[in-house]
Structure formats: structure tokens, C-alpha cells
Subunit: 447 residues, 2 copies
């Protein structure tokens, strides 16, 4: 247990949530029932679709969002809140409900990815944590899905832990797996989330030994001839020769981590075939992103390892989602839709119900029914050809266990693979563009 | 305590480190003493200098890098390593030494930011964790330093937690503080690292109330007239009028989170002055980065709040540092310098000693003395005008406590402020460029 890992998730939040709570307990608005919505105003980076990830992690983190002695002492000592608020927080537990998009689902501008309902007091506190998790994980999953599309049937492994904060690295491995990667180098992602792990040796392994041959012999002795040998520490041609001499033509694979990959891959394939190692696979791992992967489609590459670009969202490290109050009770107990008015950051008030309309199995729009106030939305009934996008994720503060842990990860990965099939062909291109399908807002009951 | 936070830091690593250990224990190379070096080949993003951050966090994480029953069970069940390696890991504790740049120090291409010495077995396992921490935190600190330079004497607050993974958000707040920010919104960073926290209210606070005036009255009742009121939920002009009517001309500040900031700031300043609120400060918080901050230099802005751009490294979310074996013992016990040969990713073998040469207090070069093998470097003596850049950070596995916890953060912040004064003027420009000072490698004892 490290000093770096918080003892509770309750302080993974912004101070203003606590000062708002403090003021709301004082003026009585803390008990107003509220609907907060988490959504993205746009798809950053000119992406054609987004992939929701982090939901399963978030549900567990919310359950653990409790204020213990140490948290309360800090808030009291720093005078963040007053004594009445400390007393309230002692018993705090989120007891509201969360509905939203399943993990692995696609999303588009305005999609109501999460809808959090509860009193202002309990729902306002979750803003930062919910956004941290969803913004990070969805950014990674969205980038990963594009790479997975570019790779086609060739396996992809995530190996970018070293280029991400040590805990975000675990979440990134998980998100990439949900969006189509097959494995990760990160052991904690293996233990906590059940993601398959992979990896054999680094350049330091070769440098540790007196000769490259010594290093290869020791690796094969330990991991068998099915292993993958890293052949570019010194000279690639010599490395490949040595690899086959040591392991034989049954060598599982060679890995190349430098050079102009299309050229190098072709040369190495030719060399391997010439040596009779026609079944030895070529894995490439040098500075790949979705564009580099696509550019290797015609090269004799068997597998890709992706580092920096996937864990940093390939140029879009955050999904840029926001968490906004969209409806609340007034002083008389009636429901009102609310929204910020500013022109550049305005949002649409009212509770939403979301559907993906399909034609012959292909998505045609993100249809979002908006209620005037808070009445239940039954727009689903009027859209028989549309798939409802929201499920109940948490009720009375209890997460649906199907979304948690390794089981939730597998379910999310399967769901993602399924819904990706609904994307129109234009969604699969890598270039910057508008969203692949339009978002259509309709008044509830209408359309 | 969440399922999401690992029980130990030992699996925050890549599988190949464990498979290399496994093979090295088998062939006897595990006990060879090694020198690994952590450095950046370049400054990504055309930065003119880099800022080292994360060191204090890393030292604590390394101390906690132990394999408990749960870690060992996972490694055994997944067949990552064999029984002999599991037995070795049961007693594992890093007992080597780490020397390196102090946290807050500047760095340049090739700077030996960390030098890790120990057996191959103990030093190889730290690769991923060391890189995760240093790459993330240094990327944030480097971006933060540029923003701090752009802001000049105006205070800067970090408020980007929602745009970063929930644990990376804490590390980002810490790194930004070291590099010149004055506060953060993140409460965990306050508790764990002693970073001052700030924040008053979000748009949801105004939307929760029946009127903006109700919201302002409640906030002032709770936080006093010295508070900062968010005035752009509906109409800014009306918001400012209401704010002063409610709080009086002694209102501490107003915050603007949308619109064309130079225009809006000037208009709001004029309005506040016209109302007699000449001491009311203006804080702006909308999509700021170092360029936007610089563009506001002539505007009547009193403080900046920066979110996304600082926590994502303002376009450079990872510092791209690497961890390479640079020297090791051979089978006879002698020391040899080692290096990968590939043209695009080659590195320089041998242990390094680093100095910053200065002329009249201004840095002129990063001077790096390279030993042929492993003998102690005393190049310091031959460079009387140079500041030695490396300190002992960990000895026999024990961190120097001065670098840990909130005390380490304060020391790093002070050190950064001091060494930034040594930068030549050209280092302060924001445009993309070469590093502000050249890196010069010399043979040890020479130069």
C-alpha cells in the first residue's frame, strides 16, 4: 500500500463540490432532487464515433466513495466545510440511481452517457470522479477502436504503461482491451481486470549478456522456441540469423522495435523465409498509431504492439465530457429543466432518453428524446426500429454487479464488438470528419 | 479502498520484466550488477526545456514495491514465472541505489535524470514504474512551467482533474504546483501532498436555485463576500450586476468560464469599476493554455484557472523518457558500457555525471561526462563553474526522506523556482524550438 494511493475515493474530487454542498446544506437546496447528465458536446479530434469506457470502474469507485476519519479530518482542518457538513459527510453514501450507456457502447455528440439522479447533495459530489474516469477511459477506448479497425484481423497488444501515469496505465490497458486490443503488457490490468498479458524481453536483456546469442539461448531455454526474440539491438540481419540458428525454424516470432517498418518487415520476412522459418511471425512495436498501422496493411506483419499513442488517446488524451445539471425540483417540489445559457458552452436541459436508429442493421442516427420536465420518457415505444441505449447501472447506490470486475470487462468487450458492426462504412475511415451519424433531438413523445 | 487501487505497486509493471527476471535467474545473469539510466532522447513538442517531476512519488512507490501473497498467486496462476522466481520475489526488495536530478530540476536531451544501480534482478523490475511516474509527471510539470512563465505574477490554479484519470489527476496537481502553479482544485492533492486547494461553485450551483440571485446570496452567506462568484451561467452583464448587488463592492472576485476572454474581461472590468467594485478580481477559466494565457497578458485579468491543457501536458501528454541499461558487469566481474545500436533509437553507453555550466548565473550548457566503464566520475572537480545536477536519492533501498511527502513537494517547488532563474531569456519563449541550451557529452576526466 503506497502513500500515493488514496485511502478512499472520496477526495478524488474538486473542492468546489464540497463548498457547494456546504452552502446547499445551509440554504436547504441540498435536498432538492436533481438529474445530472454526463455527455460530450462534440467528438474531439475529428473522430467519427466515440467509445464509452470506464463505466464498470466508476460504479465500484462510487460505491467506495465514503468519507472516513482521515478524509473528514482533512476537510475540517482545512476549513473546506463546516461542522454541519462534516456531520452530513460522516453518513454519506450515494443512494441515488445511475442509468446510462453500457461500457463498450458507441457515443456521439450529446449522447446521455450517464444520467445521475439523487439529491443535489449526493449527486453533486460525483462530478469530478465520474468525469475523470469516463474522460480518460473513453479517450483511450476511442483511439484503441480506430487502431483495432486499422489492424483488421491482426492481433494488437497494448504496451504503453510507461507512457501513462502508473494507475491510468492500468485503466488504459483495460479500455484498450474493451475496444478490440487482444492483450496488454500491464500485469496489474491482468490481475485486476482479467486482461490477457504478454511480453518476453527488452533490449536490456540482450545488453545484459556478453553476446546476443547468449541472450537468445537463455530466453529460449526459459520461454521455449515459441517465444518472440527481439532482433534489433545491434544489426537486424545478424539478429535474425542468430535467432533462427539458436531457436531453429520453429521460432515463434521476432520483434522489431526500430527502423522504417514497411522496409524492415519486408526484408526480415524474406530473410526468415529464406532460412526456412516460414512460420515465424513478425511483431512490430515502434511508435505505432492508427495511421502507421493502416500503412502497414500490405506489409508482412503478423502482430502490432502499440504504446504511447493508445494510452494517450492518439492526440486526444481526454474525451472532453461534461457533467451538467439538466433537471431539478423547484421550491414547490415540481420538476424544471435547467441549462446554462452561454453561447459557446450551452447545454440542453431536461432528462433524455437515447436510441440508435438502424436501417437494415446499420446505424442511421442517435435519436435523443428530451422531456420538458421530468416525466418518464417512453419514446422507445414510438421507435420500434431503434435500439434503446440506456440501462440501469446503479439503483439505490448499488451497482449492477454485471458491470463490475473482469466479468464486466468481458461483457463490455463483447458489447463493443457487436455494436461496432452497426457502424456505417464511412465511420471506419481514419481521417478527421464529422460524426458518422447525426444526433437528432426530439421532444419526448413526438418524432 | 477501491478494487481499482492495487494492493501493492509491484504489478504496476510490464510482463516482460518478470519473464526476463525468470530467464536471468535461470542462466545466472540475474546477479550481474547493472546501471540503468532514465533519460529523454529529446524534448517532445519543441519544448525549450523540460522539468523533472515525480521523483518524490517514485521513491515511495519503489519502497512499496513488494510482492505479497496476492501478487505471487497471480504470477504463479498465470504462469508468468516459475517456482524459483516466485521464491525469489517473495523476498524481493530493491536494495540498490538511485542517484539523479532533484525534483523540480530542469532537464535537456540526454540528461541522466535517474541512475539506478543494483543487480539486474532488482533494477530491471523498476523500469515501467519509474517511467510511468516520471513521464507523466514531467510532461505535466513542463507544460505547467510554460504556463507559469506566461502568467507572470498572476496566480494560476490547476483545475483539470476531470480531464485526467482519477489518480493521475492527483499527480498532475502535484506536478503543476512544483512547476509554479499556486493551487489546485483537487482535494486529494491537498491531503496527500499539501498542495493548497481552491474552488467555490460550478454552474450547477446557479442552476440548482430558482434564480441566480438566490444562488449568489446562498454562496455569500456560506463563504463570505471574499468569495468568487461564477457570473456566466445566463447573461454575464446581469450576472455581474447581481453579484455586486448581493455581495457589495467588497466582493472578492468573479469568475468567467466562457466567451472571448479578452473582450469579456475588459467589459467586465469596466462594469465592475463602474459599479465601484474596483477591488473585485477577475478570474478566467475557459480552455486556457500557455498561448491563451500569454494572449491575455494585456487584459484586466487577475488570476487564471487552467484545466485540460495542463493535466494533458498541453499537447505533449508524455515526456517520452526511456530506461536503458548503460553499464553492467561481465562474466569476469569487470564493468562494460553497453548501448543499443539502432540508428533511430540508439543510446550512449556508460555511466554519466551531469553538470550545468553557467556564465554569470545563466545556464550555457548541459555537460555530461561519460565514463568508459564504471569508475567513479570526478569530472565535477574539473568544472568549477558548473553546478552538479545529481544527488543521492535512495541508498540500499532507503529513500532520502527529504524528497518524500509534502515536504519533498515544497522543496521541489523551491528548487524549481531557483533553477528556472538560470534559464537564458530565449528559453522563456513559447514557440517550438531547439532546446535552450546544448547538451555536451565529454569523456570522463576530459573536457
Amino acid at each position: 500500500m503506497s502513500a500515493d494511493f488514496p485511502r478512499s475515493t472520496a477526495l478524488l474530487t474538486d473542492r468546489y463540490e464540497l463548498t457547494m454542498l456546504d452552502a446547499a446544506l445551509r440554504d436547504g437546496t441540498a435536498q432538492r432532487r436533481c438529474v445530472f447528465e454526463l455527455f460530450g458536446r462534440r467528438l474531439p479530434g475529428g473522430r467519427r464515433f466515440g467509445v464509452v469506457a470506464g463505466t464498470g470502474r466508476l460504479l465500484s469507485l462510487i460505491r467506495d466513495f465514503r468519507f472516513g476519519d482521515d478524509e473528514l479530518r482533512y476537510l475540517r482542518d482545512e476549513k473546506v466545510v463546516d461542522a454541519a457538513t462534516v456531520a452530513f459527510l460522516e453518513g454519506y453514501r450515494f443512494t441515488g440511481s445511475i442509468t446510462g450507456y453500457r461500457e463498450g457502447e458507441l457515443y456521439f455528440p450529446g449522447s446521455p452517457i450517464l444520467t445521475v439522479e439523487g439529491t443535489f447533495a449526493e449527486a453533486v459530489l460525483l462530478e469530478t470522479l465520474a468525469l475523470s474516469v469516463l474522460n480518460h477511459d473513453s479517450a483511450v477506448a476511442t483511439a484503441a477502436a480506430r487502431m483495432s479497425i486499422a489492424a483488421g484481423d491482426r492481433p494488437l497488444a497494448e504496451m504503453g504503461s510507461r507512457r501513462a501515469g502508473e494507475s491510468s496505465a492500468v485503466a488504459a490497458a483495460r479500455a484498450a482491451y474493451i475496444a478490440g486490443f487482444g492483450a496488454t503488457s500491464n500485469l496489474e490490468a491482468g490481475r485486476t481486470w482479467g486482461v490477457p498479458t504478454m511480453g518476453t524481453a527488452a533490449h536490456s536483456w540482450t545488453l545484459l549478456h556478453d553476446t546476443e546469442e547468449d541472450a537468445f539461448r537463455a530466453q529460449v531455454a526459459s520461454l521455449g522456441v515459441g517465444t518472440t526474440l527481439l532482433v534489433d539491438t545491434y544489426d537486424i540481419r545478424t539478429g535474425v540469423d542468430t535467432a533462427i540458428r539458436v531457436a531453429g525454424t520453429g521460432l515463434g516470432g521476432v520483434r522489431i522495435d526500430s527502423g522504417d517498418l514497411p522496409t524492415v518487415a519486408a526484408t526480415v520476412r524474406e530473410q526468415l523465409d529464406g532460412l526456412g522459418a516460414t512460420g515465424t511471425r513478425i511483431t512490430v512495436t515502434s511508435d505505432l498509431d492508427e495511421y502507421a498501422i493502416a500503412a502497414l496493411a500490405a506489409s508482412p506483419v503478423d502482430a502490432y504492439g502499440v504504446g504511447t499513442s493508445v494510452v494517450t488517446g492518439s492526440g486526444t488524451p481526454t474525451a472532453g465530457m461534461v457533467y451538467k445539471l439538466v433537471a431539478r425540483q423547484d421550491s414547490a417540489g415540481g420538476w424544471v429543466a435547467v441549462a446554462k445559457a452561454s453561447t459557446d458552452k450551452g447545454s440542453r436541459g431536461g432528462r433524455k432518453a437515447a436510441f440508435r436508429t438502424l436501417e437494415r442493421g446499420t446505424a442511421t442516427s442517435e435519436l435523443i428524446a428530451v422531456s420538458d420536465g421530468f416525466e418518464e420518457l417512453d419514446a422507445a415505444a414510438s421507435h420500434p426500429d431503434a435500439r434503446a441505449l440506456q440501462s440501469v447501472l446503479m439503483q439505490a447506490g448499488d451497482p449492477d454487479a454485471a458491470h463490475e470486475g473482469p466479468r464486466g470487462v468481458e461483457a463490455a468487450r463483447e458489447h463493443h464488438a457487436m455494436v461496432r458492426e452497426e457502424l456505417p462504412v464511412r465511420a471506419l475511415a481514419l481521417s478527421r470528419s464529422d460524426p458518422a451519424i447525426p444526433t437528432r433531438f426530439v421532444e419526448a413523445g413526438g418524432a
